[in-house]
Symmetry: C2
Subunit: 233 residues, 2 copies
DNA sequence: CGTTAGATTGAATACCCTCAACGAGAGTGG
DNA sequence: CCACTCTCGTTGAGGGTATTCAATCTAACG
């Protein structure tokens, strides 16, 4: 942490993680001047489905979900976004309304970056455009895989896969528990099933000694078994 | 059809439909010289999952599915691509293996465009890069919506939605039947269900006089009812 | 401590999958 | 032209899996 002026984009470490890394010092300074840092409390919404965004949100801290709520109260999570990810990118690029809402799963700190400058860079800085393109392309691949999984795998397999994903992407604490602690309901909403089905599956995993739970925290005890399950035995 | 030399990209009408429209005459000529036109018979594969593509395929005619086959024989269709769409774009951009396979649903004519030139243009022509970005961003939105639908809607609703989608996107013939005729199994594979479930739902729709069928052809007779169903009554 | 969100379990039900058999049309070869 | 095969559509029945509603329990938190 040799950087003491994180409040300026050009000094912010976070940008290394996303497409903003393709911008040069000048461009970053210009963005820095127009950005607004905002703190979001757990449960609060960053933006809602159907909004027209006039800028993107760069996550500096905390976790959020991108999801869509249906009329019957079901909330399908499409993506979990953490430090370094840029929210609202798609909507700003295509100038369409958002099709998902972003809600904080923990207290967060996000930087709001108005689109005016970004649009310029997208039009003039190929490297920047390319960086965004690569990122969106990856998101598309990820989304396609989810579609296939939802169709071809059952709840058990999808939950196993989600646990492994969470461990691989967000790591474990010193006790081995998955760092990213989600409620059972959130996990259910990622997997696309009901809270109870999720809980029942987790208890089944526990009975097999494949996982250990402590409150909402989860530790994977037998990754191989989970992987075998995902692959279909 | 005042254009008699479709064999050259710069004269091909198809390109108006996709990102290639952002290229200028020079660039198109260069592409035209390296491209290969290829005809693909119904059922044949254009590329398979896991391949490393060295170019993209521009569809000039016919219909193809982008899908992934699971070990148990289930084939989930993620996207139907027709005239004007470019296949393999994502894979070429990210230089990753394809995560889906492309199979012809009808006899097709595709132009294979080696990536060497494309890569140059992506690095130098912002307009081209932007065009691709917009397209991929749209595909991402579409994919996200599918995820949500798979999780929140039941088979009936998803089939209704698919029928409406097919009618809206591919139109109807003079008798009102949906131009895009897919087998029941293909529809099931789009929706993510079993062939039989698809058939039963269609017969139920027929009984309600919401659709008319004639062999594999389908005509929507009561779009409002289908829409109401999709919205959840 | 009381309050409340979240975890857990049970039981009834609805939905969908799977296997299996049959039918109908299209194309092929004799 | 007919028999044959192959693909696709259709229907029935049985079994699972996941949903839903309801009740209880637990842990976090002011």
């Amino acid at each position: 942490m040799e950087d003491h002026s994180e409040s300026k984009c050009e000094n912010c470490i976070i940008r290394q993680l996303n497409s903003l890394k393709a911008l040069n010092k000048e461009e970053l300074k210009s963005i820095s001047n127009s950005k607004v840092t905002r703190s979001v409390k757990k449960g609060e919404s960053i933006f809602a489905e159907g909004e027209k965004l006039k800028g993107v949100f760069c996550v500096r801290n905390g976790v959020s979900k991108l999801s869509k709520m249906s009329d019957n109260g079901k909330d399908q999570i499409v993506k979990i976004a953490t430090k370094g990810e840029v929210l609202g990118q798609r909507s700003v690029i295509t100038q369409q309304k958002t099709n998902l809402s972003a809600i904080a799963l923990s207290d967060m700190e996000v930087c709001y970056i108005p689109k005016n400058h970004l649009s310029d860079y997208i039009s003039n800085n190929v490297e920047f455009t390319k960086a965004i393109l690569l990122q969106i392309a990856d998101e598309l691949k990820f989304a396609d895989n989810i579609i296939v999984n939802m169709a071809q795998k059952n709840v058990k397999q999808r939950i196993a896969e989600t646990l492994i994903y969470l461990e691989n992407n967000f790591g474990v604490d010193r006790e081995g528990f998955i760092t990213m602690t989600l409620t059972r309901e959130d996990i259910a909403n990622i997997v696309g099933t009901a809270k109870e089905a999720c809980i029942r599956t987790l208890t089944a995993f526990k009975k097999e000694d494949w996982i250990v739970t402590e409150g909402k925290r989860i530790k994977i005890a037998n990754k191989k078994a989970l992987n075998r399950l995902v692959e279909g035995l």
